[in-house]
């Protein structure tokens, strides 16, 4: 049997007295679109932060098995190394670089795949120039794929909200990931934009060979997209299964009805 691409075992994260994550185990198979859902404050974003090295988990194992490579542990790695290993993410509260253009935002994603250092930047030998050119073309191509090429030279802050969310995805793609973590990509989008996002995520899985784990409150989107759904509540994992299983699961219904959730 193939090893899961991301294997998280018994993950616990304490903030002082608060157990934001309590013994959570989640495995993601290659080529899946998996969803992580749960009421507000359930610990979903914290889960992402623990995997990507922004938080160091109190306990647990985080392992990845990149396609064609050996299994390795991510525990204790700094965020930039996690990204280098091939995990990219977007943020729930959009975190674009507002002092830069749209293209440059994507080029930042290419950063860890470029090799030229300071001396080369100052002297600009042909190798550096070619690399830089290639970074520009690659980034532009990514913008075309995501459908943002008309904004290429605009400042990132001046983009409409939906486009900013897509730019976050473009920027994450630029790091050449095998696993993409999306934190509420549809938040704040209108139905039209959500539909386009739906198509984009499917397209990414099918054409870019990506595995996708998304956090989302829009249940319609989650149910239509996901192959597999994991549910957390108060830091504990309460269920996992196909969309149909989850819809019928009494624990999940209780968790959602007991809370004031955004969507039904």
């Amino acid at each position: 049997m193939n090893k899961p691409i991301l294997n998280v075992k018994n993950l616990t994260m304490n903030f002082g007295g608060l157990k934001a994550l309590d013994d959570v185990s989640i495995a993601i198979e290659k080529g899946q679109i998996a969803a992580l859902i749960g009421p507000n404050g359930a610990g979903k974003t914290t889960f992402f932060n623990c995997i990507t090295g922004i938080y160091e988990p109190t306990n647990g194992i985080v392992e990845i098995t990149p396609p064609g490579k050996n299994t390795q542990s991510l525990r204790g790695l700094k965020p930039n190394y996690v990204t280098e290993r091939g995990i990219a993410r977007t943020f729930q509260n959009i975190r674009l670089f507002h002092g830069m253009t749209v293209l440059e935002n994507v080029m930042i994603g290419r950063h860890c795949r470029l090799s030229s250092g300071i001396i080369k930047a100052m002297l600009q030998p042909p190798s550096q120039k070619n690399e830089e050119q290639k970074a520009v073309t690659d980034s532009y191509e990514i913008l075309e794929k995501i459908g943002l090429e008309q904004y290429v030279n605009d400042m990132a802050v001046n983009l409409p909200y939906g486009a900013q969310r897509r730019l976050e995805i473009a920027r994450a793609l630029a790091t050449d990931p095998f696993l993409l973590l999306l934190d509420e990509p549809a938040a704040g989008m209108n139905p039209q934009e959500t539909k386009e996002l739906d198509d984009l995520i499917l397209w990414l899985r099918d054409n870019e060979n990506l595995t996708i784990l998304l956090i989302e409150h829009d249940m319609k989107l989650v149910m239509s997209l996901s192959d597999w759904i994991h549910v957390v509540d108060y830091g504990k994992k309460i269920a996992e299964g196909t969309p149909a299983d989850i819809k019928a699961n009494s624990d999940v219904i209780k968790a959602y009805l007991g809370e004031d959730s955004d969507d039904a």
Partner: protein, 408 residues
């Protein structure tokens, strides 16, 4: 209604100023005759002037805000538009070059000397701009690296007879080294903490220079530092000044050249990303610490070179030239010129260093006027005199080739 509120507010401000300035503007004590005069007329004047000043101030503030709302932050400064336009770029740069070449021959030596100081600040400003403007690290001890350069030349010349041209590249390396050494322990800190620790480091270097008598000659400083030679030949005083002027021009051009390249490279983008959002920056695969350290060290490189020129020009240095005020002035150059904007920093240095010299006409109010001008710039142009503009790439979609269009 707005007008009414306005008047009310200005009246309150005027009244407050009348109270504040009462002791100095109204009361005059004659200690010889032991009498006190009350100059009530002054009180009235203070009130009237403050009232109108406040009205005018508010008017401009309001207009500024209205303008900002209209256009969403994509107005390009005039100078950038000039440089982008091919028809204007060449004549404009030509004129600029002609002016700077003719300058030392047209104006007397005093003006050349002032201009050299201003150009050294352009170098320092561009260096600090990497640290503060691009990487967003508030460094209040930048002058330490300036001192390293100046003392490196003075001491290496004194003890080993090394010449300007030998020490200049050495000082660049020395500056980088000091940048790494000082940066390593402090760059784990952020924001205000970093500012305070760098301020401390700056002062430590100055205090060491002041007290380590055997090494640096203490507060007496080092005199008779030779000017740069021209293939072993020394000019007379006047021509030396002109010679140094052109050396500085050369160094400034070199600085602009390299800083511009850095700014639009992988490392420059990483600095800006780090400034804008540290967490997102790391999540994009950028090593936070390494990126900060390179910014800090490269900034120090230019400060040290500036220090060598300074020592060669004044021929005398002592620790008093490297106080915290120097750091503050360089920081002002960057902030007022325009954070992250090379052209802005150049303009900032020229304005900030030349203006006080030419304001000597208004003698005792010089610093007051200067301070007021800085406040006005910051209130009405918070992005600085000339704000930064990012590189624009144009794409030919059919052929997928890229034509770069650079302007800085």
């Amino acid at each position: 209604m707005a007008i009414k509120n306005q008047i009310k507010q200005s009246l309150i401000i005027a009244f407050w100023f009348m109270i504040l300035t009462f002791p100095i503007m109204v009361i005059k004590v004659n200690t010889i005759q032991n009498t006190i005069y009350f100059r009530w007329a002054n009180l009235l004047w203070v009130g009237i002037v403050t009232f109108f000043a406040s009205m005018v101030w508010n008017y401009f503030l309001r207009r500024n805000e209205a303008q900002k709302k209209k256009e969403i932050d994509d107005d390009i400064p005039l100078i950038h538009r000039l440089l982008q336009n091919d028809r204007f770029r060449r004549p404009f740069l030509g004129l600029l070059a002609a002016f700077f070449i003719a300058y030392p021959f047209v104006f007397p030596m005093y003006h050349t000397s002032i201009m050299i100081s201003a150009l050294v600040y352009v170098m320092l400003g561009l260096g600090l701009n990497i640290v503060v403007g691009l990487a967003g690290l508030l460094d209040l001890g930048y002058v330490a690296f300036y001192a390293v350069g100046a003392y490196a030349y003075a001491l290496l010349n004194l003890h080993f007879g090394l010449s300007f041209w030998v020490v200049l590249p050495m000082s660049a390396l020395l500056g980088t080294l000091f940048g790494v050494m000082l940066g390593y322990p402090v760059l784990r800190l952020r924001g205000d903490y970093l500012a305070i620790v760098t301020l401390g480091f700056g002062e430590i270097i100055r205090i060491v220079l002041e007290n380590w008598d055997d090494f640096s000659n203490g507060p007496r400083g080092i005199a008779d530092i030779p000017p740069p030679s021209f293939f072993g030949h020394y000019f007379d005083q006047h021509n030396t000044m002109i010679y140094i002027y052109f050396i500085v021009i050369g160094l400034v051009l070199m600085t602009i050249f390299f800083v511009n390249r850095l700014e639009n490279s992988k490392i420059g983008r990483a600095w800006i990303a780090l400034r804008d959002d540290e967490i997102a920056c790391q999540a994009m695969g950028i090593d936070k610490f390494k990126t900060k350290l390179t910014a800090f060290a490269l900034g120090a490189t230019w400060a040290a070179m500036g220090g060598v020129v300074f020592a060669a020009k004044t021929s005398y240095i002592n620790p008093m030239s490297f106080t915290i005020w120097e750091s503050i002035t360089i920081l002002c150059v960057v902030v007022i010129g325009g954070m992250g904007s090379a052209i802005g920093v150049i303009a900032g240095a020229l304005v900030l260093i030349l203006l006080p010299e030419y304001l000597r006409a208004v003698a005792e109010y010089r610093m007051l006027v200067f301070g007021a001008l800085q406040v006005i710039v910051m209130v009405f142009k918070p992005d600085g005199l000339i704000k930064s503009v990012r590189k624009v790439y144009t794409f030919n979609v059919q052929e997928k080739t890229i034509h770069e269009q650079t302007h800085t």
